[in-house]
Amino acid sequence: MEYILKNGIVYDPANEIKGEKKDVCFKDGKIVEDVSAAAKEIDVTDKIVMPAGVDTHAHVAGPKLVLGRLYRPEDSRRGVTQKTKNERGESGFSIPSCPTTGYRYSRMGYGTVCEAAMPPLEAKHTHEEICIIPNIDINPLTLFGNNWFILEMARENKIDEMAAFISAWLKITKGYGVKIVNPCGSEAWGWGMNVHGYDDKPPYFDVTSREVVRALAKANEKLGLPHSIHIHPNDLGHPGNTNTTIETLDSLKDIVKSNSKAASVRDQIVHCTHMQFHSYTGTNWRDAGSGAEEVAKFLNHNKHVTGDIGQVTLDETTTMTADAPMEYDLYQLSGLKWVNADIECETAAGIIPCIYSPKTPVSTLQWAIGLELFLLTKDPWQINLTTDHPNAGPFTRYPRIISWLMSAPKRISMIENGEVHNWAEKRTSLATLDREYDFYDIATITRASNARVHGFTDRGNLSVGSNADIAVYDLEPNNFDPSKDPEAVEKAFSRAKYTIKDGQIMVQDGEIVSTKPSQVLWTNVKGIEDQEKAVLDQVMPFFTQYYSVKWENYKVHDHFLSNPIRVDVEMEGK
C-alpha cells in the first residue's frame, strides 16, 4: 500500500529539515522518495509532521510494573475507559495496564520506547509483558551494574571477559544494551546498606562503583554496541549529589568510543538517565538547592555525555526502581506503602507511591531543576525528554512538559501566581530563564536525538528507507504562537492527528483506529561466540550452586519474544 502525506510542515532534525512544507511518501511500511499516482493521499496541509516519537527511558514492562499494579489498585481505577471497537478497556494513571500503555503512547505519536531496567532473572517476564503491549516497539536494557559476575570481573579488571559476558547475557535475556543502576549500591542493599559516592564499596566485594562503571563502559565499547552504557548514578535523590553525578560522567571521558558500524550512529560514551534526580546541592532537604547550572555546564563542555531529564510533572505517581535503598529512604520520608524485592545475585528493586505536590518545597524544587536542565543545556541533541515514567510522572504528561518548554510566560505565571511553591523562585534560576524551545527543538528531544542515543538509524527520522513511523499533530506552526497558547500545544501533542507505525495508521484525530503487536529489539554481537562459551563455562559452577533457577529455565527462549528485531553487531576491527 502506498501513501502520501500532503503539504505538511515537516520537522526532521536528523535531516536538518526545520519546518519545510513538503510531502512525505511511504510504501510497504518504509519511507520512500516517491509514490505512484495510485497512492492514497492524506491531506495534512500546514500541520506539523514529525518522525514518530522515541522514548529514551521508561519503565513499561516487567515484574516491577506488575507488583506496582497489584499493590496500587487505587491507581488502576484512574483512567478507566470502556472498550471500543478497536481498543480494550483502559485502566491506570501512573502504572497503566499493558494494552493501555501501547494505546497511550500511540495517541501521543510515539512509536518506540526503551524499557530501561530488565533484571536478567526476570527477563522472561519482561518479554511476556512486551508481548501484550500493542502498537509500539520496545528495546529493553539489561541490568548489569550490581551483577555478581560483573562485580568480580570489574575487580580483576577483566574487560575482555566482561565483554563476552555482556554479549552472552544480551543473547540470553534478549536485551538491547547495558543498564547500570546505583552501581554497587543495590548490592549493598542486600545487607541493608547503600554506597555513598563514586568510590565506595559494597560489603564482600572489593570493588568500587568507579571501577565497575569504567569497566562496563570499556566492555560496552569493546563490543561496539549500538547504545552506550546507560547509567543511573549513585546517590539518586540525595541533596548534594551533583558532585557524584559529575564525577561519574567525568571519569568516562578518556574511554575511546568503538569504531564499529553500530556504535558510529551515536555520539556519546555514556547516557546519564533522569539527570534531574542527580542534580541537587546542599546537605539535606532543608538546605537543598539546584545543581542544574553545574550539570548543564558540564554537558555543554563534554560531548561524550547525553542525558535524559526525568522531569517531575507534579502528579501523584508511583516510583519504581532497581535502586532499592533509595526507595527505602523515600519510604522513611513519606511513610506510604512500600514494596522491596531482591533479585538474587543480580539487583534489587523497590516501589513506593509518591505525591509530587506543587504546594511542597521539595517537589517544586525538583520540578524547577528539571526545567532548568532543559533550558540551560545548549545542545538539544544532548538532552532527551523523559519523566523516567512512572518515577517523576507518567509518560502521558510529555505534552504538558512540551508546553512548559515552549512557553516562558507559562512558566513564569506558574511561579508568580503561586501555582508552585516559592522555592522555584528562591532556590533555582527558573524564573530568570526566558529560553523557549521551538518545534524543531521539540522534535530533537523527543525523537531525533533519542533515536541517535540508542543507535537507531531506521527510526527517529524521515529518511528514505527508514520505517514509516510518523506523527502528525493538529497545529499549524506558521499561524500559531506556542508561547502564547501552551494549552493548545499540550492538547495537540496529547492527541496526534495521525500516528503511523510501520506504514499502518494507528491513530486518527486522537483516537485509536487500528492496533498491531509490539516488536522487541535486541542486540546480537557476532564473532565473539568462542569467548562467550569460555566465560559461560567459567561462571556455570557458581550459577549452578547459587541461582535458585536452573540454567535451562533462565534463558529467554525464542517463543517468549514478540516479533523480534535482531540488531546484528560486528565488533570493531572485524
Partner: protein, 288 residues
C-alpha cells in the same frame, strides 16, 4: 422541585451501575430522556426502563432541586448517588455496593441494608442507613490510603468490617454493633459506635477519635490507657457517660484517642482488681 420515582420492576442478576444517574447529571431530564438512556450492566448497556418504571414530576434548575426515590429491592443496583454533590436520594429497600461513594453534598437515605463501601471516600453531605452495612463503610478504595474526608454517615443497624478505614475526616455514627478493625489507619475524624465492638478498633491509627458506648471484645496492644473521663467533648460533641480514654496506636507514634464505656468494660482497666470490685490507685476522678 423535581421528584423522580424509580419503581423497581425486577431484580437483575447482574448489578446495574447507576453512577450516571445522579442529580448532578439528570436534573434537567424528562421522562423521554430516561426512555432513551441505557444503563451499564456488566460489559453492556440496557435500557433503564427495562428495570424501572420511572415517573418525573415537577421541574429543576439545579441538582439541589432534585429528589430521587427508589421503591423496591435495589440489592443489585450499584453506585446509587456516587459522586453526587447536591439533591436528595431515598431508597425504600436495600442498596448494592458503593451507595453514596465519593459524594460531596446532598442527602441519601436508605431504608434497608447496604452492601460494602457505603459512603466510601465521601467528602460531604449525609448518608443515613436504617439497616445494616457490610464492610468498608466510609472507608477508602482498596489500596488507597485516604478514606472518607467529610460529611456524616449514620447507620442505624450494624456495620461490617473495617468501618471508617483510613478515615481522614467526617463523622461516622453506628447505632448498632461494629465488626473488627473499625477506624484502622484513621488519621482524623470521629467514629461513634453505640453498640458492641468485637475486636481491634483503631489499629495503626495516627489521630482522630473513636468512641464506643458498648462493650469492646479485645483491644490492640498499641493502645495505652490515659485516664477516665466523664462526659467528654469530642469534635465539639458532648458524650454522656464515663469512659476509659486510650491513646494510640503507639506503634506508629499515633496521637489518636479511643474511648470505651467504663462501666461495660471494667475488666479492661489496668488497675482493676477482681476481688473487691473496685479500682485502686487511679485517682479521684475514676469510677466509683
Amino acid at each position: 422541585m423535581k421528584t423522580i420515582t424509580f419503581d423497581v420492576k425486577k431484580r437483575n442478576q447482574i448489578a446495574l451501575e447507576m453512577d450516571e444517574v445522579i442529580p448532578d447529571k439528570i436534573y434537567s431530564w424528562e421522562a423521554e430522556d430516561f426512555d432513551k438512556y441505557a444503563v451499564p450492566v456488566g460489559n453492556s448497556r440496557f435500557p433503564i426502563t427495562d428495570f424501572f418504571d420511572i415517573t418525573v414530576e415537577g421541574t429543576a434548575d439545579s441538582p439541589a432541586e432534585v429528589k430521587m426515590i427508589f421503591n423496591g429491592d435495589c440489592g443489585r443496583v450499584k453506585y446509587i448517588g456516587n459522586k453526587m454533590s447536591a439533591g436528595e436520594i431515598i431508597v425504600n429497600g436495600d442498596a448494592d455496593l458503593h451507595v453514596g461513594a465519593e459524594m460531596s453534598g446532598g442527602a441519601i437515605t436508605v431504608h434497608g441494608n447496604c452492601e460494602a463501601h457505603a459512603g466510601r471516600e465521601m467528602t460531604g453531605g449525609t448518608l443515613e442507613i436504617f439497616g445494616n452495612t457490610k464492610e468498608f463503610t466510609g472507608a477508602s478504595y482498596i489500596g488507597e490510603w485516604r478514606g472518607m474526608r467529610g460529611g456524616k454517615i449514620t447507620v442505624h443497624g450494624n456495620a461490617g468490617k473495617q468501618c471508617g478505614e483510613c478515615l481522614v475526616g467526617g463523622h461516622i455514627h453506628v447505632k448498632g454493633d461494629c465488626d473488627i478493625l473499625a477506624g484502622i489507619h484513621m488519621r482524623k475524624g470521629l467514629i461513634e459506635i453505640d453498640g458492641n465492638v468485637n475486636r481491634w478498633p483503631g489499629g495503626q491509627m495516627k489521630n482522630g477519635n473513636i468512641i464506643i458506648r458498648g462493650r469492646l471484645g479485645r483491644l490492640l496492644e498499641g493502645f495505652v490507657e490515659e485516664e477516665i473521663v466523664t462526659n467528654p467533648v469530642i469534635n465539639g460533641i458532648e458524650f454522656d457517660g464515663t469512659f476509659i480514654k486510650y491513646k494510640g496506636d503507639i506503634a506508629l507514634k499515633g496521637k489518636g484517642h479511643l474511648y470505651i464505656d467504663a462501666e461495660k468494660n471494667r475488666d479492661k482497666l489496668s488497675a482493676w482488681e477482681d476481688e473487691d470490685d473496685e479500682y485502686i490507685s487511679l485517682g479521684d476522678n475514676r469510677l466509683r
